[in-house]
Each structure stands twice: as C-alpha cells, then as structure tokens.
Amino acid sequence: MAVSAVDFGAAAAKRKAEQPAQAPARRREPRRMLGAQALVEALKAEGVEYIFGHPGGAVLHLYDALYDSGLKTVLCRHEQGAAHMADGYARATGRPGVCLATSGPGATNLVTGLATAFMDSIPVVAITGNVPRALIGRDAFQEADITGITLPVTKHNFLVRSARELPRVIRAAFHIATTGRPGPVLVDIPKDVGVEELDFDYPETVDLPGYKPTYKGHIRQIMAAAKAIAEARRPLLYVGGGAIASGAHEEVRAIAEKCDLPVAMTLMGLGAFPGNHPQSLGMLGMHGTAYANYAIQNCDVLIAVGARFDDRVTGALDTFAPRVEQIIHIDIDPAEIGKNVIAHVPIVGDCRTVLSALIEKVPEKKHPEWWAQIDEWRREYPLQYRPGDTEVKPQAVCEAIYEVTGGEAIVATDVGQHQMWAAQYYKVHGPRQFVTSGGLGTMGFGLPAGIGAKLARPDKEVFVVSGDGSFQMNIQELATAAEHNVAVKVAVLNNGYLGMVRQWQEFFYQRRYSDSRMWSPDFVTIAQGYGIKAMRVTEPGDVRAALEEARAHDGPVVIDFQVAREENCFPMVPAGGSNSDMLGPKGWIE
C-alpha cells in the first residue's frame, strides 16, 4: 500500500553501503529507557562520532545522557561555531555532522550555520532542546519557535511530541539529511521528552511516503546527452558541488579524459576534478579565470554536473553562454532543472550514477581546435598578480600554501577576497578538500569548519585561510581548537580592510570606504592568550618559512600575514554584467 513503510530504494541502499557509519540492520528487542538515552542510542546507531554543541537548561537531560555515553562531545564557544563544525565535518567526509544546542538563543544561534549548510546542500543534523511541552507557546524562558524559524533554511525539521517518536524521528532525520540532495535537518526536543520513558527499538526503515529521490537518470535523456557530446565541437564540462556530494569525482575525470572535455568548476565544485590536471580551467564565474569564462561564453555544448547556474557563475543570464546550442543539465534535484536556465537535455539523477551510465555511451573524442583556442586564452589571460618586493601579496600566501602542501591539504576558508584568492591559487587536487561557504557566503565559517574538518580527518593537514574581518566573526572558537588541540593552521590575510567590500567601494562607490576600513586587535597576542602558537609575517621572504613552521607544529597555529592593503581580486565580472566583460589588473580585459 502506498502509505506503508517505505524500504530504501536500491540506489539509496547502495549509497548507504558506501557510507559505513550508518544504522545497523540487526533488530533487537525493545529496551525501556528515557528519551535522552534513546537519543544517545539513536545517534550511536547512526554511527555518529562527534557532537558539536553547547549545553543549556533545555538540554541538560540530553547532556547528562551524553556524559558517559562514549560519544565524543566538542564544547563550542558559540552555537554558530557548533553548526559550522558539524558542517565542516560533513564537507570533509560526506558523513552527516551533528550539532546540539539548547532552546531559545542556543537554537537561534544555529540558524546561520543551518542556512549555510542548506545553501550548499550539506548533511547536518541539528538537535535543539526546547521548553517542556506544557510551556510551549507560552513565551516561557528561553523559548523560541525554532522549527518555525528554520523552516526555510532546513531540508526538513521535526518537533518531537513524545519520547516514543524519537527513534523514528532521528532515523528519518539522518535519512533525509544524507539522501537525495543532502541538507540540514533540525530535530527540536522539548525538555521533558528527555525524561519520558519509551520502549526503544531503532527502526530499519523510514516511513516517508512523500520522499523518494531519483538516483538513476532516464536512459532516453542519457542517450540524448551522449549524442550531444559526441557531436560537440566546443564542449565544456561545468562541475558543481553536486559532483562532490555524489562522489562523482572519478566519473568526472573519466568522462573528461575520454571526451577531451575542458573542465570548469564552481566554487563548490573545486576538487571534483584535480586543479592541476591539464584539462582543468579552474573556477568560472565572477572571480573565475578569464579562460574559463571565455570557454563558457564560446562553448556549443555545456554539460552541467551538479551545478545550479548561480548568479555568481552566470553573470547576467541573457548574456550567458551566447553560443551554446545544447545544455545538458544533470542534477538530483528536479527543481534545479529549469530554475535559472532551460536545459535542452535535463537529466534528473545522482551525478555519479548518471555519469557512469553516460561514460558508456559516449565515444572517445579529441578537440584539437577547441583546445588550441583555450590554450591561446590561457597564454593571453593567465591568472596573475604582481608579486610584491616589499609587501606580502595575499595571492602569494595562497600559492605558497598550495606549494608547501602539494595541494593535498584540506583548506577551509572564510568569505571575501581571501576566499576567492584561495579558490584561484590553491589548486585543490581532490574532493572534500576545499571547505567554503559558497551559497550563503558566511563570514566566520572558516575557523569552526576547519576545526570540524580536522577532527573528521585527523590524517589530513588542515589550513584555514581567513581575513581579518571574517576571522573575528567566530574567533572565540580558538578556545575550542586549543582545548582539544585541533591542529588547524590559520592563515589570516590581514589587510586592515573588509577587502571585498573595499574593492566594490573602490570600483562602484568612488572609493568612499564607508565602514570597510577596520581596526583589529593584535592577532598574535590574541592567539597566544588562547595558548595557541602564533606568528606574524610582514616580509614576502618569510611566507614559506612561517608556513613550514606552522606545519611542523603539533597543534593549532595562527599566522598573521600582514598583506598588501589595497590589493584587488581579479579577474572580476561586475555583478549583473556579462561573463565576457571582465576586469583585470590593467582595466577591462581585451
């Protein structure tokens, strides 16, 4: 019957098999326990490793159950940090990150983190306490309607009305967060539910009759895509975050190599294809490479893989890709197809599954003329900056991080000029290595996300590239890094400005630097106050040595790079302009 419990689809089951940390298949006898214990058992059943959170009145029962549960809790200094750590954990691994906050302000402090995860389709499960059921709706102390507040920034949310519902709800929350187009899910648990008894029996299936993501692409559309690729003269692969979410990096590479496709990536797609591969054009869009944007503007067949034609990628839509004859759009979310551009070949499905099928159908091809054109653009308009003789150039720091780590480190960024320079000059080699707030553009994301990523991947070096503005938005999480000795290496590109704001004011507001000039404290002293090793770099010649010293240190490090103050980020497509019209260091390009 249509409304009975729904088993996982075959594709979903396959994905689950690839994600080891998931629910057990073994059925046990129900056990009598309290709601708070049931939550702990459910989280264990989901394979949760870390819970990033901050305690408070409404979650005392939950924290009490966590105390000797064996689950690792990370005490954050602000709930926003907790949400970003859970997010960074998820981005670095593909496994859901979990954060926990109390009612009222604790819960509302998560909102920016949830919105960040929502815009970038990151699986996060947020658990909030709420006031006891009898007080809900009565403006009780620390009450907030967090399910109402987070409605538009979560994939789904739940208010748990009795302890009995907990196992089903937690199972569903993790299922929804990690399948289809991933996203954050919030579970709000009134305080007294934590001490209500239930018979705990963790469900193997979820009962969500309205939720059935499509994984397998329609074969007729895949054939149409194969034909378009086979006939293309100037094809371009445009790869977004969906390719990383679905684990399609190998398939992206395989099809790119088989069909000789140039590959341009969105900010979220960086790492889906090796940045040092000869076929990589790097990032496209507002601060993308000139050659990637020219390739977009001149391609005849555009193959979008897990990308959503964001305004920062397309520029003015009516001038986007004017020579394109066929757009192939592969996305797991049907609503993305046709949202911003009309695709000629729409394929709803999981990027990896669809690409695997597509690779079989396309012939090997070479595009020497197209590549000759692209190589000319590469020679004519390389990504470049003027190296500093006396000043440390921010681009040089990003480049040096790339060189000393060999592109193998995880880089978490904040938001602004430094983020774009990191995206341009840190030519990330693999997926889940570039952790950045793409859609929402959340300043303050980098440090906590980097901490989450480092805890998730202790085997990986983690650099945080930040700016003096962004760093101060969640600087309190240095305490979390210090307390747990999380070895993130924070490179602050300190220019004494909110650099991207200043850049826009320079170009579009006659250099009226309204509140973009910014005083900052001494970051070295601040870091040392947290007991964290810190350095200051003012000379271009000292950049590498500082980075190497930071890498060698077993623990968190903050490096205050005092960089050129009024450096601009180029190329730049002014907002609402055409991708053909880019500003470079010497004015309009061409």
Binding site: M1, A2, V3, T147, G148, L151, P152, K155, H156, L159, I176, L208, P209, G210, Y211, K212, T214, H218, R220, Q221, T314, L317, D318, F320, P322, V324, E325, D333, P334, A335, I337, G338, K339, N340, V341, I342, P346, V348
Partner: protein, 189 residues
Amino acid sequence: MFGGAFGATDGKAREHTISVLVENRPGVLSRVAGMFSRRGFNIDSIVVGAAEEPGFSRMTIVLVGDERELEQVQKQLHKLIEVIKVSELDPAEMVERELALIKVAADRTNRAEIVQIVDIFRASIVDVSPHTVIVEVTGDVKKVEAMVDLLRPFGIKEIVRTGRVGVLRGPKSSGVHGDRRRGLQAVGG
C-alpha cells in the same frame, strides 16, 4: 535558437489550479505557504481539508503564473518531505466549486425579491432575521461572483467564502493510490 531562453518567463500568465496531497502533520500548511512566500509565488486561494485516507490532507491551491512558474511551484512543492503528490487540474477536465455565505440587509419590503434571486441561482437562504438574511451559494467562481453582484444593491453586510476546491472529472484520480509523480515525469523523461 537560444534567444530569451534564460531566466525569462514566457509571459503567458494564467490561472492554475493544483491539487496537493500531503501528510496530515502539524506545520504542513505553514511549510507549503512558506514555500510560496519565500520563492515569491503568489497564492490566490488555498483550501485544506481531510483526504480520502486518514492521515492525509488535500490542498487545492489557485495561483496565477506562466508555465515555467507553474513547473517551479510543482517541483518546489514536491521537495517538501510531507508532500505526497502534486497535480495540476486541467480546467477543461475538472469540477471546481466554492461556497459562499453572504449576509444581506433585508426586511419585509425586499425579502421576497432576494428570495427570487436566490431561487434562480439554486442557492438557499439559511438564516432569516428581521433585518438580514444569510444566503448560501455553491458553484464555480463566476456563479458566486454573479450572486454577490446581484445582492450588492441590497446592502451586503458580510461575505465568507471557502476558497475553491477542485477534482478531476471521470475515473482519473490524483488520489493517495494514484500515480504519484505524474507532475514530474515531464522532467525525468
């Protein structure tokens, strides 16, 4: 071949009626209404009531938009976890009804005239007081509006309308057991 394909709407905005089957859970109405306001779609009318199976509700939503907007509305509705099924009701193939209760000023001098109008419309008078009558009218929007127009000269004190509900004629169904993803097949294939 590509002129105007990006971002633009085709300009032919018209009224659409969509039927949305949802799980009957707390908050589902605000999820649906919130999606409309967040994405800038306008709802002309929304009606919610129990569906044929316990645990499910059906919403009839009337909106004005072109084909692209309609497609986005349907897809975005489908993304809501508690939405089971979304289908557009073709105006040529559906029965649509609205009910209105109209409180009209009426006394001995004009009550008979009102009764006459009510009879012609196959509506009914459901309450009489010395100075008012309440008229109940059921029908499509045109009929309800015609009735309102005719009663207006008497002095309308209050109108309560249910909003529109619709169902497909004949054996076709957008029911709990029907073809679930009809609205999305055009995209998948």
